[in-house]
Symmetry: C2
Subunit: 409 residues, 2 copies
Amino acid sequence: MALIVQKYGGTSVGSPERIQNVAWRVKRCRDEGNRVIVVVSAMSGETDRLLGLASAVASNAVPREVDVLLSTGEQVTIALLAMALNDIDCPAVSYTGSQVHIRTDSAHNKARIQEIDGDRVLGDLEEGRVVVVAGFQGVDEFGNITTLGRGGSDTTAVALAAALKGDECQIYTDVDGVYTTDPRVEPKARRLDRITFEEMLEMASLGSKVLQIRSVEFAGKFNVPLRVLSSFEDGPGTLITYEDAQMEQALISGIAFNRNEAKLTVTGVPDQPGVAARILTAISDANIEVDMIVQNVAQDATTDFTFTVNRGDFKKALAILESTASALGARQVKGDDKIVKVSLVGVGMRSHAGIASDMFSALAAENINIQMIGTSEIKISVVVDEKYLELAVRTLHSKFGLADEVNAE
Amino acid sequence: MALIVQKYGGTSVGSPERIQNVAWRVKRCRDEGNRVIVVVSAMSGETDRLLGLASAVASNAVPREVDVLLSTGEQVTIALLAMALNDIDCPAVSYTGSQVHIRTDSAHNKARIQEIDGDRVLGDLEEGRVVVVAGFQGVDEFGNITTLGRGGSDTTAVALAAALKGDECQIYTDVDGVYTTDPRVEPKARRLDRITFEEMLEMASLGSKVLQIRSVEFAGKFNVPLRVLSSFEDGPGTLITYEDAQMEQALISGIAFNRNEAKLTVTGVPDQPGVAARILTAISDANIEVDMIVQNVAQDATTDFTFTVNRGDFKKALAILESTASALGARQVKGDDKIVKVSLVGVGMRSHAGIASDMFSALAAENINIQMIGTSEIKISVVVDEKYLELAVRTLHSKFGLADEVNAE
């Protein structure tokens, strides 16, 4: 008898009617002979309503009490779903994070799960009950309520699946799977049947917001097969697992992009050890995260140094860089916040040369100038002018045959 | 340093602004040098909103899950109040019923408190923090969330005061104390400075809805001084304690009344042992509660038997009584749901004869016919036609000098 963990997000449980729909879906899974654990988020809008109350009573809400407040959101949902399940003759029982001992550290509002005592849940499953668990929340060693931060319900689901050796962790959401790229940019984008954890991490961190990154890392670490499915229509969704040697592996799995970056360049930097560190330390001391970093080969004992930051940090980063550059005696500082990053992702590129040159020549054929290049083992990213975003994505989608069922080698 | 338990009901915490007002009131109590525990209810309207969601997802909500659902109402309030307190530099920490181990039995929706482990609360008080506790809720021996039933927050407050040997339990509400009678019926009604537990029980059970009866019983049992105060204006409120021998005791404390009764009479009942039991057993088997019972002296080997029930049970009780009466060979069954009960309450009547005759003659002087009479040690009740309610209350209020500061012997 398989053990399935299902997770439903806020939109999927956003109204009494939707909660009843989820109940029928859960019941069907149980009727098929599975043991079922369901993890739910707060009904959509509820977290914002609660935060609104908090800001109405306090100018600075203490983090501990924010967690006490927000955790009621999921508690309402677990009670309603357990009622709805019992009402259609599917025995079910609800638990808060505290009741099933989802033990976290004490970092309120962004706690991390440390351990789960699954005995109580296993006892209920043994007796044929569906177990409904509040996502997003836990309890620290002193009995204080904690929350995992927004999107933490995915992490709860994966952690439960890992702790109880679940056969599959199903994440129900408002899309029916992971796509080769954003269908709003490329209408030919295709749902992937499978994708590896590593690819999913690259896709997620580059802007595909289907899954919370932390939950994918967690699932990978504990080897819990993850499946992304729609809670509104039936379908196989996308399975996220480790690479399967037997499986015919697509060369490229998808194209991710990020509109939220800005580029900063300092030219004529003296080519001395420690210069890059000085530039980046000043930036990170201001709590600005740096994404891509490129440094050119030195000419005339000076070099150019370019990096990208979140667009929201652009002006702040520019001011810091100007001050660092003048201290270093650099020639000039330039910035551009009208850029995007486009990335090819695929574990297949590990064993295949020539992907990068195919990518660059395809973009060149469309007269798209590449401003920066960055690579990892399973990803190639380029920075281009933001006006080329759609053209670049569609060009690469077509070039690597992503619209076809299995793309060519 | 006195230990004060304050309880604020749903109206008193019904909006963010009101929660902030409560925070200032709590802070003032702490600044006066007291250790303060605050018990709060759900914001007014919240419990009904949650019950609405429950009935939208399930035709029959399981009681266990109703408790999981409803307990979120107080949890929201404790978090908001603790935030508001910290925001005005009054250190505070919130706890759910489960977190401070308010251990109850497992009777969901109407659980009874069995014990409270106050160590955690005492630790916080020791370190100067205000402790905010969710009313109305507890946890059973298996870790399930329970609720005490509507109005149970009063009971939580009294139980905490009893367990932690509090000096006073203050119940803040939307009235400024307990009155000699309902001011809407007798504008001359006067707030009482003090009243005994026994009198309060008689007043409460007769229709004064200021306090939940169970919490008064609890306070009496553990000798916790209770004080009823307004959360909207300052004032001493009404202190509820045991009778104080040193204190000049008023003869009569108040006049209670109940509009929600109906009277049933069966005449010509054979005057045999067991007849009263047969009549009342049939009624109580139908889960109908009986209040007053009067049986006249037998004449001609038959007797008359009269009792009162809640008005909502009148028709059902009448049908049952007719069937019992015919089985008993009684003469006739009569009913009247246009009656009210008016009661004089006062521990002073224990040691004073003549109260009853004063009462009856005062009513007779106004031509108010008395249909039934019942007495207890500190109460005399009469049933009269409902049209005389206001006249009877005002007549007795004046007769026993209740509008004066200390009424005459």
